[in-house]
Structures are given as C-alpha cells and as structure tokens.
Subunit: 210 residues, 2 copies
C-alpha cells in the first residue's frame, strides 16, 4: 500500500479537484436541462445559464466548445434521464402493460405539476424551434424519439402478448401515434397549466386501442 502525499491545508488533492470538475460540468448540464425545458434553446442566453449555475464563463468553455455543443450534451443527458424513467415504468413486470403506461403518465403529470407546469419536454421545445437550431440537432432529436418509441412499442407488444391489444396491430406504428400525441399533450398541459390534457390524451389513446 502506498501512502498518499500530505496535502497543504486549503489545497485540493487531485481527486478532489477532479471531482469538482465533474460536479461543475454536471451542474451546468442540470441547469441547462431546467432552462431549456422551460424556455427552449434560442431564447436561453448563455449568461442566464451561467448566472443560475453561478459558474464563470471561463469554466463553461473548459467543458463545452460553445452553446451548440452545450445544447447537444444537454439533449443527450436529458435522453439518458428520460430512458431510465421510461424503463423504470415500462419494464415493471409486476404490472399489467397498459397500467405501466398509465404509471408513466402519472409520473410525468407529477413531474410537470412539481414545476407548476412551466417545464415541458426538452425535445418538444426543440422541435418547435427546430428551424432556428444548429443542423445536427434535428437528427439527434429524431434518434431520441425513436428510442422512446421503441420502449413504448415493446410495452404495447407485451400488452398484445397478453391479448389486451388485437394481435394484428403494428405496435411500432401505435407507439409512433402515441408519441406524436403525447408531445401535443405535454405542450397543452404547459399552455393550460394543468395536467388534464395528459389525462385526456391517455384516455383517448387507450379507448381507441384496437
């Protein structure tokens, strides 16, 4: 076993410094998720991000090439967070598949209510302003939505195996239909500042299932 060299008081060890770096980057990404789900990309200035994170501009450029790079990394982090959320609900094998979808919706409603319906879906926000976004964003967004659709399609497939959904239905198309409408529901919930549109959409979707 080697002995670590003694550190001077007030001077961080390499491990501590490296942890601080990770923390600063994570903080910026988290603040980015907050602001970009509230206001979108174009109308969120770098200054607003730095101010909320209380991080100096120099630090920002240590982690990110520019705002475009930052936005892309925020999108990737959001996707990762959201896939975990979807998996937590949709892979819950103790629960009947359509109930899993209902549980996801319930969780999303609570999440929106927690922030007084001011934050929607990052991908929905970016979609609305896609014409003003850096070109690579569009492809990234479509990839992300495909991954989310894949998860809901699998859940609907599980419902199909149990006979809850007709056997001849294409669950992939049904999932695409779900996500198209679901982004509309999140948008409308934000507009009305209430969860009702999310319930209306889910009920309409489930009622219309073949």
């Amino acid at each position: 076993m080697t002995t670590l060299p003694p550190t001077r008081a007030g001077r961080r060890t390499r491990a501590e410094a490296s942890l601080a770096l990770i923390e600063t980057k994570e903080l910026l990404i988290r603040v980015g998720m907050e602001l970009l789900t509230e206001r979108g990309f174009t109308s969120t200035g770098l200054d607003a991000i730095l101010k909320r994170a209380t991080v100096p501009k120099g630090s920002f450029y240590h982690y990110f090439k520019n705002k475009e790079d930052f936005g892309l990394q925020v999108m990737q982090a959001y996707d990762e967070y959201f896939r975990k959320k979807l998996d937590r609900w949709l892979l819950d094998e103790r629960t009947e598949p359509l109930q899993r979808l209902r549980n996801f919706v319930e969780d999303a409603k609570q999440g929106m209510a927690r922030h007084s319906f001011s934050r929607g879906c990052l991908i929905g926000n970016f979609g609305q302003e896609v014409g003003a976004l850096p070109a690579p964003y569009r492809e990234a967004m479509n990839h992300i939505l495909q991954a989310w659709e894949f998860r809901v399609a699998n859940c609907l497939g599980a419902a199909q195996q149990r006979g809850t959904i007709a056997a001849d239905v294409d669950c992939q198309s049904l999932s695409t239909f779900f996500w198209i409408g679901w982004e509309g529901a999140v948008l409308r919930a934000k507009m009305m500042r209430k969860a009702e549109p999310m319930d209306v959409f889910l009920n309409g979707f489930v009622t219309g299932l073949p």
Copy 2:
C-alpha cells in the same frame, strides 16, 4: 356629385394615404405571422420583422403599442385566418363529415409542405414558450383553441348524426383529444420535415373512433 379637389403630382389623396396605412399594418401582421410561426415570439426580434417588411420603426409604433401588442394582434389575425380555413373544410355539406376532417388535414399538409415544413402552428409555437410570453397571451391562446375545438366537435357531431360515430360519445371531448394530438402532429412534422406524422395522427384518430 361633388368634384374631388385636384391633387398635386407626387402627393397622395387622403383615400390613398389611408389605404397605404392599412396596407402597412396588414403587411406587418402578415410578416409577423410568417416569422412567429417559424421561430416563435421570444426569439423573433422586432428588427427582423421590420427588416422583412421593409417598414421603419417609427411606422411600427404608429400601429402597435409595443411588441406585446403586435404579437397579440398577429395571434388574432392568425385565429381569424384559421377559423375561415376550418369553416371552409368542416362546413362543406356536400362532403361526408369525416372526409371533411381529412380534407382539412390534407390542406394543412400542403400548407406545411409549401414552406418546406419550416412553419408550424402559431398557437403551438406560443404554447411551447408560454412561460416567457406576456401574461394575457395564455388566456387568448386557450380561447382560440376552444373556438377551433368547437368547430371540429360540430363536424364530429355531424358524423354522429349520420351514425358514423357511436351515439353515446361526447364529441366535445373527442375534439379536445383531436386538438391535443394534432398540435403534436404539426410539431413532429416540423421536426421531421415531412407530412407523415400528420397522416399517422389522423389515421390513428379515425381508426380509434368509437
């Protein structure tokens, strides 16, 4: 019959001047509709509007108190234009009611294609950024959507009278479901730069009708 006083060459009559005023205001509103359906309210600067309309700032303030007032008038003009569009398709009594809805969707697809899917729905755009908009906008947007929902509900009611939709269904709720998903479909079409999501949504909606 009175004789109009002769006008000096290069000087406009009062009627001409008044027509020019109306034209400038209409031009500003039209340019506002274009830019706001493309980019939303927050990220569209007044300068971009004046530049596209080639109207000086002084003229703008002759017609509008400020950008907030302008945005509200653009929203009202968009609503008026859109109600007419809905009425044109949905009140077409020569056509079977669900086909009227299909015709509206077809027209919307063509409209989006005409602008390479860069322009979505003004109300959808505003909804996404509602937290950053002037407070009176939210109520105006909800009113507008109610008026659109009313029109689709009537069309679904006509389908119900002909027995195409089950008699015990609440067409108002069904129309709310339609509009929630439809805004999502327009958003997705913009994101993917193709009309497919609008077809997927309409087919999913019609297939699921009770």
